[in-house]
Structure formats: C-alpha cells, structure tokens
Amino acid sequence: MTKFLQTLMDGISIGSLYALIALGYTMVYGILRFINFAHSDIFVLGAWLSFSVALCAGWTASGAPLLFPTWLWTVLIVVSVLGPLLYVVERTALPALRSSLGPRVPHALAGGFVVTAAVWAWVLVGLVFLARATTASASFRPLTGVVILVIAMGGCGLAGYLIERLAYKPLRAAPRLNVLITAIGISLFLQNSGQLKFLFGTQPQKMPELMENKPLAVVAGVAINRVDVIGAGTAVALMFALEWLVFHTRLGRAMQAVSYNTRVASLMGIDVDRVISFTFVLGSALAAAAGFLFVMKLPGALRQPADTGWVLLGLKAFVAAVVGGIGNIRGAMLGGLFIGLLEYFGVAYLRPELRDVYVFVLLIIVLLVRPSGLLGKATVEKV
C-alpha cells in the first residue's frame, strides 16, 4: 500500500510536468497542424535559464553572489541613453528635415524599439536584483523561486516568439514537410548552440536547492516532499490559468477560432499572425515553467543541453499530447498525467529498466486502436 501511494505521488508529480510540456505541442498543432520539434529544447532552455538566474541571484549553496560583468552595465547604459535620444530626434528634428529635403532622410524609428529593449533589460536587471535581495533571507526564498520562474518563462516566451517569427512564419505557405524539417533544424541549432562555452557549456551542473532536501512529512510511510507538492501545485495552477485563458477570454476564443478554421477566422477580423505568435509565447512559457520545476525536483539532473536525456523527456511529453488527442488542450493535461503514472507504476511493479518502453508501447497501442487520442475527435483526412 505504501509503495502504491508513493508511486502514485511520484507519478502525479512527474506527470504534471509532462502535461505542461505537452500543452505546447498540442496548442501549436491545433493551430498550425505541425509538430514543433524544437519545443523540447525550449523546455531545456527553461531549465538552464533558471539555473543561470539562480546563480546570478547568488542562490548558490556556498559563496558570494555573482556580479554582472562591467561591459554589460556599459551596454545597458549606452542603450538606455541612446534610445530616448533617437526617439527625441525622430520626433523633433527629422520630420522637419524630411519635409524640406524629401524622403532621403532616414528613419530613426528604431529609437522607439531601443527604448523598449532598454526597458525590458532594466526590468530583467531589477528582477534579478529582487531575486538577489530575497535570497539573503531564508524566509523569502519562495519569492526568489517565483522571480526565477517569471524570468525563465519570459525568456522562453521571447525565444518561442522569435523562433516562430524568424523560422516558421516565412514558411507559412510552404508544404508542411518543410516546416517539420525546419523544426528539427531549429531543435539541433538550440541544442548545440546551448553548449557554447559562454552560454551553458558542455558539463552537467547542479541546480542550487531552493528547499531542504528532506521529506516534509511521512504519512503512512509515504514521504511527501515540499518540492513535489509545490511543483505539482504550480503546474496545476498554471494549467487552470491556461484553461481560463483559452476558454474564457477574447484572445482564447480567437485561438479556438483560428484552430477551427484559419481562413474564416481571418475574414472575421482576427489577426491570425498575432494569435499564432501568442500561441508560441504561451506554449514556450509553459515549457519553461516545466523546465524550472523539473530542475527543482531533480537538482542533479541538469544535464548539458545536447544530452539525449532531454530529448527523451520531450518525446514522452509529445506522446502525452498524442495520447490525449493532439490539438486538444484538456487531452494534453490528461495525457501527461496518464503517461507519468504509467511510467512510474511500470517501473515500480514491472521491470524498472523498461521505463521508456511502457510509454512508447502505449503510443503504438493508441495509434492502432484510437488514433485520434483519448479526447480527440476523429477527422476524415481528404487525400
């Protein structure tokens, strides 16, 4: 009984993380009808960003907090002075010149964007400092965790946005296979560039521990860990937030509309590009949250970015999306939990070394018996 309960808890704990990642696969598929293979690398990016921010915030087991290098301050100050300056020039001097000299006068419009960039940068610096301030006192450490989570989600959201804009958008009209291959290319690019020396490096690292590595309580022989409780709680909260966003807001309704029929949605005045960008940002942010929670749960599992262990985790999340019915948000949540439980019960009660086999055998069975997944609708594909 103890074993059953312990396995149940471990399965739910990891299953909720699979669910978070699976949501990104399923949302993108729902709208663009292609599998975003770079999604699992966003998850990895989230994990490593969390680690980097934690270190910057001085959240190490020992040693003084790390300071930003001076060149970064220089860049920041130059950018934040230059931005407003360009903006003012564009507003005051250039229109006058343009009217007298004609269209040869270049636009200094980038000034506005530089301002935006500077604001972003300062917000991030502020967040890191907030994290650092809260690290000092042990009682505020949960707040540090929240700040790290926010930065990781923001960073990955931005990365997701950029990937969509730079890699997938130019291929919107191309055959679906091209997009799929591009996604694999992006995945390889992210994996290998992440291993650069000045990014994350080629060695596994250990995530500093937010909470004491001890069971919170032992109920009926089941060790309940604070990290697991908070991790699963955060995951569930994020899923509820997503549920609300998709089913109870205008933007969510727009997403559903685009997913249902892109062309008609755009005829109804929905900005399709924007909805697609938003979907990517949302999915990537959720993957980042999963990455953060994963390294919180398993601090020693922060492997180098191109490690195959990460790919496997991403694939299992993908299986979760397919099992739940790809394109269906609630299906992805259910599928994630299901995969997590299946994996952990398989390991605990059958042969432990076959943990990946259970998941992929389930995939085969689902594809044979109910290809549209647990909650998916069967559709007739016109050939």
């Binding site: 074993k3 950029l162 060695q203």
Partner: protein
C-alpha cells in the same frame, strides 16, 4: 515595418539573454571553460592543438595532425571531454599531459619526443569508435590511450585490435575489455576484484549483512560490477535483498528506490558513474532512507560532492589510489599535478599518468614501434613502479594491484582502507 519589428525583437532577446547569462562567469561552469571545448570531436576536423606542447622546441605540435614528423612519436587519446562523464576525460588527459611533459623534458624515448592528440568522444560509444579510427588511419598514432568507461573502451578497442595498434586503457575495469585481443591491455585492476573489494569492505570493516544494488543496465561497467559484487557478497555470507536497474540517461530513480526502501537494506551498492551516483544519493535521502551508500571507481570525480552535496557524505567507494597515501610516488605526483593544474589529482589522472609512462617504458624496450612489437613490450611489463602501485601486466593483459576504499567526508574523499588482491 515588419523587419524593424523583427530586429527590435532580436535586440530585446539578445539583451535579455546577455543580462542573464554572462553574470555566471564565476560559476562552477568556469571549470568547464578550462576543458578543451574547442570541439575536437571526431566529426569536425580540428584536433586539440594544445596537448603535449610543453617543451619550447616542440613548436611543430601546432602543425596539422596528419604531418607525422620523423623525430616524434604521436600518441592518441580518446576521452569523454564533454557530457555527463566529462571529468573522466579531462582528468585522464591532464595526467597524460603531465607524463608527456616529464618524458619529453628528460629527452624522450630513443631521442624522439612525444606528441599527444586528444579527441572528444562526447561520452558516446559510436563516437569512440570513430575517434579511434581517425587516430589510427589519419593521425598514424603509434599507440592509443583510453577510455575510462568500459563500454567505450570496448567500442574503441575493437577498432584498435583490427588495425593492429596497441591500446592501453588507463581505467576501464570491465573484464571483457582486454578479452578483445592481444593489442589491448590496461594498467588498472578489473571488476571481479573490485566487486570483491567492495563486498569484503562491507562484510569485514562495516560488519553489515544485507545489500541492495542499483545499476545502469546500459553500461558494461555498471552491469558487470553489479554481478561481481553480488557474487562476492553472497560468497562472503551477505544477502542481496533486491536488485534494481535503470537505463543511462534516467534522472529520476524514485521508483527503484521505493522498491529498495521496502526491503530496508544495510547498504545500497551503486556501481554507476558519478553524475548518477550524486543524483541517486540525493533521492535516497529525499525518500528518508538511511542505508550506507557504496560505489566503485566510477564515482571518482570532484563533481560527485558537488552534485551529491550533503546526501553523499559518509558514502564509501573503491578506487585505484588516494592522494592521502604516504607512498613517495603518490606524494611526488600529487605535488607536481597541483603545481601544474592547481587541483588535487583524482584516480583517473593518476592512471592516465601511469598509462603514459608505462607506454614510454615499453617503447624503450620494444624492438621496433610496429604495433606487434610494441604490444609485446607492453604485455611483458614487469614490476613497473607507477603512482597507483606496482604494475605487472599478467597473461590476460590486466594489472594486479591493491585497491583503496575512500570515504566522502567534508565534501572530499578521504582514505579509509586498503584491500590487497586475493
């Protein structure tokens, strides 16, 4: 307009990444920066040019690897310089480089100096085979050194055997490595002995009687050592209560550990590599298990304490040497290594050093540098005084040496016991 937007987005993400990432320069990652991460993987054609270039006259080392000049011997080394077992490759490489530096400073062998070419196999068996093929066919090495992990030594060793180039593995302990053929030998003990050492220590020194094992099914070293320990432990009157396996790359061991907790063993034997051992230790304590943790020489890395933290304190593992041994050879080596690299050498560095020096010794005795003659000279090594003990290569091309048991205390391994060969 769209282009401007895209540009601005680039600027924003670039900035935000720039803020978050470089601040971590002083992090533990800085240690990774010292490893030759210049991508000397077999698939890209840049060999590691820094290796073995320590004497001022040896400027030719920076020339392309294909030019084997007549006045030097080229030695190949393949190792995991990156990935989960990165410190294995790095330590061994540093040990080899230190040995080459000394040999060259003393005039080399038969008037020729040594040059080292190191390839990174990224901890993958397939890459190991590619690296050895490239060392032999392109770089024309006289001999190959490597690997630490037995699975990769087997992959690389088969290539070396086929091509008739001698290979010395510094620290692969699985028995089947040298069974490949007469070209393959090693300077360390083998797992049947290591399993016996761990079992004997548990039974005689710790006086404990029940054990659970948790091993990596995908690594020859881990699976083999697991069997050897089980056999020895049962023979010594102990009882194996449960045996659990995982596959390399797994990060969460809670299900296996839950099974182990049900049996409540005195010790848990974990014959894996250090990254997983550190991970497992943390999860053991998380589950509230109090068993003593025991491991093999795969634990030997400074990273073990970094990953395992408090959880690994009080654990034991068997190793080839301890830097606290008072033998003059050990203390001399530790001093030289510290001077050059500023760190305490682990067992893999010591074995790399021994392997290279044994190779040089064999070359002075060999009739010629042809693969056959050199292998013969290596295989007939007798009473070679190494840092890790006196090395005699036996008929199975293995070395017979005592093993030490180390205990993790205060974040570093301390000497606990020495166990002699049967």
């Amino acid at each position: 307009m769209n282009r401007v937007r895209a540009f601005a987005a680039c600027a924003i993400i670039g900035l935000s990444l720039a803020i978050i990432l470089p601040g971590c320069d002083n992090s533990p990652q800085a240690s990774a920066a010292t490893s030759p991460g210049s991508g000397s993987s077999p698939t890209n054609s840049v060999p590691n040019p820094t290796a073995g270039t320590t004497t001022p006259t040896d400027a030719s080392a920076n020339s392309p690897a294909t030019e084997t000049s007549a006045d030097e011997y080229v030695v190949g080394h393949y190792a995991s310089m990156t990935g989960s077992e990165a410190t294995f490759g790095k330590s061994t490489d540093d040990g080899i480089k230190l040995a080459i530096e000394e040999i060259n400073a003393a005039g080399g062998v038969k008037g020729k100096k040594f040059r080292l070419i190191t390839y990174d196999d990224q901890g993958k068996g397939q890459e190991a085979a590619t690296a050895v093929t490239r060392l032999i066919t392109r770089d024309k090495v006289v001999a190959v050194l490597g690997e630490v992990a037995s699975s990769r030594s087997i992959a690389g060793g088969q290539v070396a055997q086929q091509n008739g180039v001698p290979m010395i593995t510094p620290s692969s302990t699985n028995a089947s490595v040298t069974e490949i053929g007469d070209m393959i030998s090693r300077v360390c003990f083998i797992d049947p002995f290591q399993g016996f050492v761990c079992a004997k220590f548990v039974r005689d020194n710790l006086k404990l009687s029940t054990a659970a094992t948790l091993y990596d099914r995908t690594q020859a070293y881990s699976a083999g050592l697991n069997d050897d320990f089980k056999k020895a432990f049962t023979e010594l009157g102990g009882k194996i209560v449960t045996e659990q396996a995982y596959a390399g790359g797994d990060a969460d061991f809670s299900a296996q550990l839950t099974n182990i907790r049900d049996k409540n063993p005195d010790v848990i034997f974990i014959p894996g590599y250090y990254t997983e051992a550190g991970n497992i230790a943390m999860q053991v304590r998380k589950l509230g298990l109090k068993s003593v943790l025991i491991g093999g020489d795969g634990w030997d890395s400074a990273k073990l304490a970094e990953i395992g933290g408090q959880a690994i304190e009080g654990a034991y593992y068997s190793n080839h040497y301890s830097d606290e041994e008072q033998r003059p050879a050990v203390q001399d080596f530790v001093k030289k290594y510290k001077e050059k690299y500023g760190a305490v050498p682990d067992g893999l560095a010591a074995l790399g050093y021994d392997a290279m020096r044994l190779l040089a010794d064999a070359m002075t005795r060999a009739k010629s540098t042809s693969g056959k003659d050199l292998a013969e000279a290596i295989n007939s090594t007798k009473d070679f005084a190494g840092v890790t003990g006196v090395i005699t290569i036996d008929a199975e091309r293995n070395a017979r040496k005592p093993a030490v048991i180390l205990k993790m205390q205060g974040g570093r391994p301390r000497y606990a016991a020495t166990i002699q060969p049967k």
